[in-house]
Amino acid sequence: MTTKHLEKINSLLLPVCFAGVLLVMYMALGWAPLETTEGHVQRIFYVHVPVSWSAFVAFFVVFVSSILFLIKRSEKWDWLAVSAAELGLLMTTLSLISGIIWGRPTWGVWWVWDPRLTSTLLMWMIYVAYLMVRAYSSEAGRGSRMAAVIGIIGFADVPVVYYSVVWWQNIHPQPLIRPGNLELTGSMALVLLTSTIVFTIFLFYLISRRFLLEKATSELAVMKRTLREEEQDARIAKIKIDRAENK
């Protein structure tokens, strides 16, 4: 897929995302019925669950593209990995924040060291480390390779986060979406499904924009380096000619 194709898809996706976001806001806040146990605060789930799902999807993209980068050594996989890691980190941050806000009226506290919350925080730290390794590595290629290793090993925490509520049953609610089973029914399920689709589309839109930005930055850096090297070569050649003429 060329840059032009990706830009064309992006320009089509943007209005879809905004329309979808408006639809989700209307459905979550105005259309979805009241949940009898938790009350209105349950409406936070219509954004909290899709954001958490988006984080999982983004980290899966990091995992696959990191493997492909280490096998093929093609820069495009590295660009995709860093773009998805950044978005995954953003989604995890938003998931943690919205979860904390939901926890206060429901549990009476902002934070508990529940397995789900703790493993999510650990996942957040892993991907912060991923981005820090890239940012602080003295050699760009080495940083990318080390980050790819973190991206592959770090993905092991994603299933732990997902199954933490099943393995160590604690205060956090059980997963609403399970393979082949949706815990919600009727209009609540429809709102959650719509919201998940919209957030996933939005995620891919942002990943592709970030990918294009990373690609342009990387290509320009190579061009600048080549030009500087050529300039340096020209200077050395000139000095050599001057010396030869003086002799």
């Binding site: 943007l14 905004f18 976001v21 408006l22 806001m25 209307y26 806040l29 105005g30 009241l34 009350g39 209105h40 605060v41 409406r43 936070i44 954004v47 909290h48 954001v51 978005l87 953003l90 941050t93 938003l94 924040i97 919205s98 806000i101 939901w102 206060r104 009226p105 939005f202 942002l206 924009r209 970030r210 930005l213 342009a216 930055t217 320009l220 850096a221 061009m223 600048k224 030009l227 500087r228 300039e231």
Partner: protein
């Protein structure tokens, strides 16, 4: 990118205001603890996160543009010298 950031800002306002109105209207009807400020805070935090990320991308694009300008100056200098 500037268009993207502006669109994101516009959409955030567009989304938050009717969202708040929908919530206020539907929540006032039913006599249930509303916790509206928590709902508002959670939705606001999520859209603010998206908006800040859009701003960050805009800033990176600005840096890229400066990079291109630098390269153009470098190329012009080379052309003059040769």
């Amino acid at each position: 990118m500037r268009r993207f950031v502006l669109a994101a800002a516009f959409a955030s306002i567009l989304v938050m205001l009717p969202g708040y109105a929908f919530a206020s209207a539907s929540l006032q009807v039913e006599q249930h603890p509303t916790n509206l400020r928590y709902i508002f805070a959670a939705f606001m935090a999520i859209w603010a996160g998206y908006f800040l990320y859009a701003l960050f991308m805009g800033w990176r694009e600005l840096k890229l543009r400066r990079y291109v300008e630098e390269l153009q100056t470098l190329l012009k200098d080379r052309a003059k010298k040769s």
